[in-house]
C-alpha cells in the first residue's frame, strides 16, 4: 500500500500509456477481452488516483522525481536547482485528476456500446488512453517542458478521436480545426518556455517561480502562455473551434475533449497563480481573466439560443459555463495581493469557480452523452426533426432533465451550489458582474427548456415509433455521472470542504509549492 502511494503519480501516467500500445495487440483476441481489459485497467487507475488523493488530503502535496534515489528528492545532491523530470501533485492537480478520471471512466463505459459497430475500434481505445494520459500528465507535471509535451499528446489524440468518424465530412473538418488550434497554441507555449529558459536556465515551475524577475520578456512570455491556453480552453475571442469540434466528436469523446479544455484552464491558473504569483500585482491579469469570463458567459449563451443542432447548442453552453469558472477564479486572482479582500470574498469566489469545474464536467459531459444517445437512435442532431422521444427513451429523458436543471442552476442541484458561491462573492467584488452571471443563468434555463420541449415532449412521432432505449452500457455511462451529480447535490458542503478548498489553497499558497521543491525559504 505504501509502495503504491509513493509511486502512484508515475503509475497513473505510465499504466494507461503502456496500455495504449498493448490494446491493438489485445484486440486480436476479440472485442470482449479488450473491453474487459480497458474497463478494469481504468478502474485500477481510478483506484490509484483515489489513494493518491487520500494521501494528499492527509499529508499535503506529493513530489515524484524520475530517476532519483528517493522519489521525494526533487534536487539531486549538490545541485541548487531541480534538473530532473518531476511530477508535483498538489490540491488543485489532484482535484483535476479526480474530475478527469471520473469523466474518463463514464465516457469509456458509454463508448463500449456506442462504437460497437464502427471499424478501427482498437485505435479508438488506444487514442482514448493517450488522451487520458495527456490530460492527467498535464495536470500532474511539475515542469514547463512536460507541460508542452502532454499538451501535444492530448491534442494529437483528441484530434484523431474528434475525426474518428471519417465517413462524415464534418467530422474531419472539426478535427482539423482542433489540430490547427492545438498546434498553434502548443508552439506558442514552447516559444514562451524558450523565452523563460533563455533567461533563467530553468524548466521546473517551482524553481522558475522562485527566481522570476517580472521584466518585459517575462510579460511577453506570460501573454503568449495566456493566449495559448485561452485558445485551447475556448475562451470567447478564440472560441471558434469549440462548437465545430464538440459537435462532431463521437459521444464518449466530447466530454473528454471538454475535459482537455478544463485541463488547459488548469494550466492557465497554474501559470497565473503559481508561476507569476508572488510579489507581482495580479490585479490587471485578474481583470483580463474576469473580462474573458464575462465575454465567454454572455456571447456563449447568446450564440446558443438560436442553434438548431443539439450538440452545437450544448457546445456553446459549454463555452458559456467556462465563463463562470474564469469569472470566479479571476476575482480571486484580482484580489490575490489583498489579504482582507481575499479572506472576505476572494477565497469564496475561487471555491465557486473551482467547484464549477467538476460540476460542469459532470452535467455538461452527461448532457453531451444524452445528445449523442439521441443521435445514436434517430440519426440526426437537428432539433426541428425531433419530437416525442420521451415515449421511448425514458432513461435518457430523465438524465437530460437532471442535467438541464443542474446546468441552469436550479436548486437543489449542484450547479446551484457552485453558482450561488460565485454570485454571492462576485457581488461583493463588483455587483454588475454578478447580475450578468444571473442573467446568463436564466437564458441557459430558457435555452434548455427549448431543447426539452422540441426533443422529448409532444405526441409520439410516426418516424420514431420504432426507436428504442439506448443499450445498457450507454445508460450505465450516463448513470455514473448522474450518481455523482446527485451526490454532489445532496452534500455540496462536504464536497467543497474536502476537495475544493484544498484546491483553492494550493492555488493561493504559492510559497508552499515552491518550498516543496526548493526546500524551505532561506
Amino acid at each position: 500500500m505504501e509502495y503504491l502511494t509513493v509511486h502512484s503519480p508515475i503509475l497513473i501516467v505510465a499504466i494507461p500509456l503502456l496500455a495504449a500500445f498493448i490494446i491493438p495487440l489485445l484486440s486480436r483476441l476479440g472485442s470482449k477481452v479488450r473491453d474487459t481489459f480497458n474497463v478494469s485497467l481504468l478502474g485500477f487507475v481510478t483506484f490509484l488516483v483515489a489513494i493518491l488523493a487520500i494521501d494528499i488530503y492527509a499529508n499535503g502535496a506529493r513530489i515524484y522525481t524520475l530517476g532519483a534515489s528517493v522519489p521525494e528528492l526533487a534536487r539531486p545532491e549538490g545541485y541548487m536547482v531541480p534538473v530532473r523530470i518531476m511530477f508535483q501533485v498538489d490540491g488543485i492537480s489532484i482535484f483535476m485528476g479526480l474530475t478527469i478520471t471520473v469523466v474518463a471512466l463514464a465516457a469509456l463505459v458509454y463508448s463500449l456500446q456506442f462504437v460497437k459497430n464502427e471499424t478501427g475500434q482498437d485505435r479508438f481505445y488506444s487514442l482514448f488512453m493517450l488522451l487520458y494520459v495527456g490530460m492527467i500528465g498535464l495536470v500532474f507535471t511539475g515542469d514547463m517542458f512536460n507541460l508542452f509535451v502532454f499538451l501535444e499528446i492530448l491534442s494529437i489524440a483528441g484530434a484523431g478521436l474528434a475525426s474518428y468518424r471519417v465517413n462524415l465530412a464534418d467530422a474531419v473538418e472539426g478535427g482539423f480545426k482542433y489540430i490547427v488550434i492545438s498546434a498553434v497554441s502548443a508552439l506558442l507555449v514552447l516559444f514562451a518556455i524558450g523565452i523563460l529558459y533563455g533567461q533563467y536556465n530553468l524548466l521546473s515551475i517551482a524553481a522558475l517561480a522562485n527566481t522570476m524577475q517580472f521584466n518585459t520578456l517575462d510579460m511577453i512570455a506570460l501573454a503568449m502562455l495566456a493566449i495559448a491556453f485561452v485558445m485551447k480552453l475556448a475562451g470567447v475571442p478564440l472560441h471558434m473551434w469549440a462548437p465545430d469540434t464538440y459537435a462532431v466528436a463521437p459521444a464518449g469523446i466530447t466530454p473528454m475533449i471538454y475535459m482537455s479544455s478544463a485541463a488547459s484552464m488548469y494550466a492557465l491558473y497554474r501559470v497565473t497563480f503559481t508561476l507569476y504569483g508572488g510579489q507581482f500585482d495580479t490585479m490587471p491579469i485578474g481583470w483580463v481573466v474576469i473580462i474573458l469570463g464575462v465575454l465567454s458567459m454572455f456571447i456563449g449563451v447568446m450564440m446558443a439560443i438560436y442553434q438548431t443542432d443539439i450538440k452545437r447548442l450544448m457546445a456553446y453552453h459549454a463555452i458559456s459555463q467556462s465563463g463562470y469558472m474564469l469569472l470566479g477564479v479571476g476575482v480571486g486572482l484580482a484580489v490575490l495581493t489583498d489579504p482582507v479582500a481575499l479572506a472576505n470574498y476572494g477565497r469564496d469566489a475561487m471555491n465557486g469557480g473551482i467547484f464549477h469545474i467538476i460540476n460542469n464536467a459532470l452535467y455538461k459531459g452527461m448532457l453531451f452523452l444524452t445528445a449523442e444517445a439521441i443521435f445514436f437512435r434517430i440519426g440526426t442532431r437537428d432539433l426541428n426533426k425531433m419530437g416525442g422521444l420521451a415515449h421511448n427513451m425514458k432513461w435518457t429523458t430523465i438524465f437530460f432533465i437532471i442535467g438541464a436543471l443542474a446546468i441552469s442552476g436550479i436548486p437543489p442541484f449542484n450547479g446551484f451550489a457552485s453558482k450561488l458561491l460565485i454570485y454571492e462573492s462576485v457581488f461583493r467584488f463588483n455587483p454588475l458582474l454578478s447580475i450578468i452571471a444571473m442573467f446568463v443563468s436564466l437564458v441557459t434555463l430558457a435555452s434548455f427548456t427549448k431543447v426539452f420541449y422540441s426533443a422529448f415532449t409532444g405526441p409520439e412521432m410516426p418516424a420514431y415509433r420504432e426507436v428504442r432505449e439506448v443499450p445498457k452500457s450507454m445508460i450505465i455511462g450516463m448513470g455514473i455521472m448522474v450518481a455523482c451529480i446527485i451526490f454532489f447535490s445532496i452534500f455540496p458542503g462536504l464536497v467543497v470542504d474536502t476537495i475544493v478548498a484544498p484546491a483553492t489553497d494550493a492555488l493561493i499558497d504559492q510559497a508552499s509549492y515552491i518550498n516543496g521543491v526548493m526546500g524551505a525559504a532561506p
Partner: protein, 117 residues
C-alpha cells in the same frame, strides 16, 4: 570565434513566426495552413537552438570534451522533441486534408465549410 552580428538568428526566428501567423490569419487554403504550422515550428526550433548556442562552443558530450565553452544541451533536447512532435502533427493534418478533399473535392476553407454559425 564566429561572432554573428545583429542577433540574426533571433531576427530570423521572429520573421518565421510572423510569416506563420500571417498565414493563419489570411490564408484559406488548407495545405497552406499546414505549411504555416511547419513554418511556425521551424521558427520556434530556430529560436531554441539560437538560445543554446555559445560562440565557439563544442558539442556537450561529457566524456570526451576538448577545452572550451560547451553549447547548452537542454534546448537541443527540446528541439529534438519538438521536431518529432511536429512531424506527427503535420502527418495527421495532411491525412485530414486528404479526407476533406475526398469529401468536398476542394481544399479551400471558404468553400468547404459545413460548420457554420
Amino acid at each position: 570565434m564566429q561572432y554573428i552580428p545583429f542577433n540574426i538568428p533571433f531576427v530570423a526566428a521572429a520573421l518565421l513566426v510572423g510569416v506563420a501567423l500571417f498565414i493563419f490569419l489570411f490564408k484559406r487554403n488548407l495545405i497552406k495552413i499546414v505549411m504555416g504550422v511547419a513554418i511556425l515550428s521551424s521558427g520556434v526550433n530556430l529560436f531554441l537552438i539560437a538560445l543554446g548556442y555559445r560562440a565557439g562552443g563544442v558539442a556537450p558530450i561529457y566524456t570526451a570534451t576538448p577545452e572550451g565553452v560547451m553549447v547548452l544541451p537542454v534546448p537541443q533536447a527540446l528541439t529534438l522533441t519538438n521536431i518529432v512532435i511536429t512531424v506527427s502533427v503535420i502527418a495527421l493534418m495532411l491525412t485530414m486534408v486528404m479526407y476533406i478533399y475526398r469529401h468536398m473535392g476542394d481544399i479551400d476553407a471558404k468553400k468547404s465549410r459545413l460548420l457554420k454559425g
